[in-house]
């Protein structure tokens, strides 16, 4: 194992970089773009997240959210533009490097090993070691305590993590990242597969992480989840930004409208109407919705342009 594992001692609860907003954003993308050969996956994106702040990235399937995550998480380098961490440009060549700078990603589906106990999952890759041995007692206790600190009261940290509910699993993954000194949390659709109540639980932990002084990048396609917890909102469509708002610049309905892709919906409703029959009825009701939401055009030109 040539990469020496850092022992977790000393990494615990890395002090938040500043209380609330400090001047320098933890993570900042300036005019970042990504091309895969001839395919432009992401184009001219500006975003930032500071300590104690939640930046929501909203977009439909294929909007470029995953590519954006991959850039921030260190899996890909942006082909254009710059990526700064705490004010200095970085060139990550692996997620490990991003992790060392305190940027942790919690993926939607590959967060945990289902058959392994909760505590083994919690410390996977960061085991508390005494030589080659692991300190099982200490790890179980730390795992239980850390989960309690995030307000998760587990029955038994020895149960396979696959027996937890989806929301609980997300929460374990999030508190694991917090425990190991993450300054920035990237959450990839943490609420996508969850029911209403469990989504609420996850949103609670997002707020809790923010309170602890972390910067959170919350990727979702659900504006109803994003709006209550977010401080900034970046909207993506077809690999480009269609809006970058602070919370006071946008309402939830506007966010919903933008997400639904106002103009595209309008177009779709016209197409449906011209099809005739029952389909046309659908088209007409859709058009009515579009008008009601007031999203036939982009909302007021409050787009905060690139700093």
């Amino acid at each position: 194992m040539s990469t020496p594992q850092e022992t977790p001692a000393g990494k615990h609860h890395a002090p938040p970089v500043g209380n609330g907003r400090s001047g320098v954003p933890l993570v900042r993308l300036v005019n970042a773009g990504k091309r895969y050969g001839a395919v432009i996956a992401l184009h001219d994106i500006n975003m930032e997240v500071s300590a104690g702040e939640v930046t929501c990235v909203l977009g439909d399937n294929g909007a470029g959210k995953s590519t954006l995550i991959k850039i921030i998480a260190g899996l890909h380098e942006p082909s254009t533009g710059t990526y700064e961490v705490e004010g200095t440009p970085v060139h990550f060549s692996s997620p490990r490097e991003a992790l060392e700078r305190g940027i942790a990603t919690v993926y939607q589906d590959l967060a945990v090993v289902a058959l392994m106990p909760v505590w083994r999952n919690f410390f996977l890759g960061n085991e508390v070691r005494k030589g080659p041995r692991i300190d099982i007692g200490a790890m179980k206790k730390m795992c239980k305590d850390e989960l309690l600190a995030m307000g998760i009261d587990l029955r038994d940290v020895d149960q396979p993590i696959g027996t937890l509910s989806g929301g609980e699993r997300q929460c374990v993954a999030i508190s694991r990242a917090v425990h190991f000194g993450a300054k920035v949390l990237i959450l990839d659709e943490p609420t996508a597969a969850l029911g209403v109540k469990q989504s609420g639980v996850v949103l609670k932990y997002i707020v809790q992480a923010r309170e602890r002084g972390l910067g959170v990048i919350f990727i979702t396609h659900n504006p109803h989840h994003a709006y209550p917890v977010g401080d900034r909102f970046l909207l993506l469509n077809r690999g480009a930004s269609i809006g970058n708002y602070e919370k006071n610049q946008v309402t939830r309905d506007e966010l919903t409208g933008l997400m639904a892709g106002g103009t595209e919906l309008e177009q779709l409703s016209h197409e449906l109407e011209s099809a005739g029959g029952a389909v046309a009825d659908l088209g007409r009701s859709m058009e009515a919705d579009v008008e009601e939401l007031g999203i036939s055009q982009h909302p007021t030109a409050t787009e905060s342009d690139a700093r």
């Binding site: 609860h13 305590d145 038994d156 396979p160």
Partner: protein, 352 residues
Amino acid sequence: MTQTAEAPVAPPPRADERIGRKSPLARMLARPEAGAIAGAIVIYIFFFIIAPPFRNASSFSSVLYVTSTYGLMATPVALLMIGGEFDLSAGVAVTSASLTASLFSYEFTTNAWVGVLVALAVALFIGFLNGWIVVKTGIPSFLVTLGTFFMLQGLNIALTQTITNQVSSPDIATLQGFNSARQVFSASWTIGGVNIRTSVVYWIVFVIIATWILLRTYIGNWIFSVGGNAPAARAVGVPVGRMKIGLFMAVGFMAWFTGMHTLFLFNTIQSGQGIGNEFVYIIAAVVGGCLLTGGYGSAVGAAIGALIFGMVNQGIVYAGWNPDWFQFFVGALLLGAILLNTYIRRRAEASI
């Protein structure tokens, strides 16, 4: 851990009311090797009743010996299976190792130990090659090692034929270092009229080491994670590729060790032997509770799986049956074990 002071709620030392009381039996049944233990007891009682010679200590020592020859290999094969991969070349790799040691030291008239070391290098290389191809190409290990299985089998037979003009390796008992190597790999003692071979001791030691690695070291944690969910393991920084290659090399190492045992016990090796043993190792691991898809299992389970195999192997002889029935029994055992394991695992998971 002084930093944990910030945890606002001190966990009260009460038992959690949501955990129902688990009986010791239920706890034991939740272990991966539970089915194998139950099966071993049933089979032991079965042969104890129908085959009087089976009751002697000396015949049980030969059961243990047969068990150890399979159990040595079943141990790393189980680890590899927990790590999510297969090795079909494991059976013939044992023969490749013995042939390498024997032919090298005989043809170059070196000390037997030189051949032993060359064989170690070759066996580790076979493991490395298997692992490297699997990791680099992402082709299922079933196919990769099926390929190396046939290649090794062909090499074993063809090279032996070319070098010695025979189907077996020459007798190396006269070589320098042979006796000391035999002392190390294939000694036996008689204690109270019962013959005990070192391979049994080695087997038990390796099972203990493997169990310790699996449950008490970070390497074990990584093995489970690599087999259970490789992308998740990679995401938290576990070197998935190196772990898998390492596991294949562990199989190579044990193929070398087992091969040396066989070589220094018999002095000479049939070039075609070992074929089919790979299935025995896999069966022992599966009977012992290893999940075919990886991420779950135990080394102790594989040891008990090998013991079941050894008991049936010898029990049939002691019962005076036609040994032709052996394979039928092995197949039935495998099916029975899989059904039992599936049932137990479902119950264990439901009772959590």
